[in-house]
């Protein structure tokens, strides 16, 4: 049952992500990113990360994906064709990424991971994540909040200058 669910989510994740990389229509690429994010959320839930699964749906699908689709729509007037490089460049990119993938697979299968002999039952993680964020990881948490504030101000500033120039 677990294997079946894993395979379903792998298919939901990987086939649209090939479309993201290869489609010649950027709107199709943006919408297949939806399925990729959703499949990754499913994989998180399968790994016992309930909080992260929900967060993936909330932040990636309803936040980041909407922003990307906005970006696609607002730059619609720029040439939609030729969103990829010409064939030699694409060939070189494919060779490079296949090489990187081969390196990964060698590393994954040659390493003796200190695996758990028996997988524990998944437990609710939200309260434990809250404890860690306000305990061990308090300083990174605060830095992240400052980062988000800086991003908010910076994005408004960048866009405002270009609007004012017009």
């Amino acid at each position: 049952m677990k294997n079946f669910a894993f395979n379903v989510f792998v298919i939901i994740t990987l086939i649209p992500s090939f479309w993201v990389a290869l489609s010649s229509n950027i709107v199709h690429a943006a919408f297949s990113l939806f399925f990729t994010f959703f499949g990754v959320a499913g994989l998180y839930v399968l790994l016992g990360a309930d909080f992260l699964g929900v967060l993936q749906v909330l932040v990636y699908i309803s936040g980041i994906l909407v922003l990307i689709i906005f970006g696609v729509m607002m730059t619609q007037r720029a040439q939609m064709e030729h969103i990829s490089t010409r064939l030699p460049g694409r060939f070189a990119g494919a060779v490079l990424s296949v090489l990187v993938f081969g390196g990964f697979m060698v590393a994954v299968y040659k390493t003796a991971w200190p695996k758990l002999t028996e997988l524990p039952e998944p437990v609710p993680t939200t309260s434990e994540i809250g404890n860690l964020l306000l305990g061990k990881y308090l300083i990174p948490f605060e830095v992240a909040s400052v980062l988000l504030l800086a991003v908010l101000v910076g994005a408004a500033l960048i866009v405002r200058q270009s609007v004012r120039k017009e």
Binding site: T13, F18, A21, I26, A49, L52, A78
Partner: protein, 105 residues
């Protein structure tokens, strides 16, 4: 059929990462490059959670916190990147990366 194991999760995230690399390397459209970066960040987050599930660790939730920070960073990155892209688009009327070469010496 893939089994539910650490190696297969790493395989999936490796495929995601390499597709992200391919997208970043071969797209000319800036928004499509941003999509490739999102694929890469998703692969990294998936790795952290997979390791915290299958590998002996002191605290099996630590990997989740790291993925949480990855999600925060990627949200911040996407907002700034799209602000820059829209700003460039309103001044140059193009979003092809090879047209943005003012800083090239």
């Amino acid at each position: 059929m893939l089994a539910y194991s650490l190696e297969n999760f790493l395989l999936v995230s490796g495929v995601l990462f390499c597709l992200g690399i391919f997208t970043v390397l071969t797209r000319r459209n800036t928004v499509a490059i941003i999509m490739g970066i999102e694929l890469i960040l998703n692969a990294a987050g998936l790795n952290f959670v997979a390791f915290s599930r299958f590998v002996q660790t002191q605290n099996h939730i630590s990997g989740h916190v790291f993925t949480l920070f990855i999600i925060v960073i990627s949200a911040a990155e996407i907002v700034i990147a799209l602000a820059i892209v829209l700003s460039l688009y309103s001044t140059k009327k193009t979003i092809h990366v090879e047209d943005f070469d003012e800083l090239k010496w």
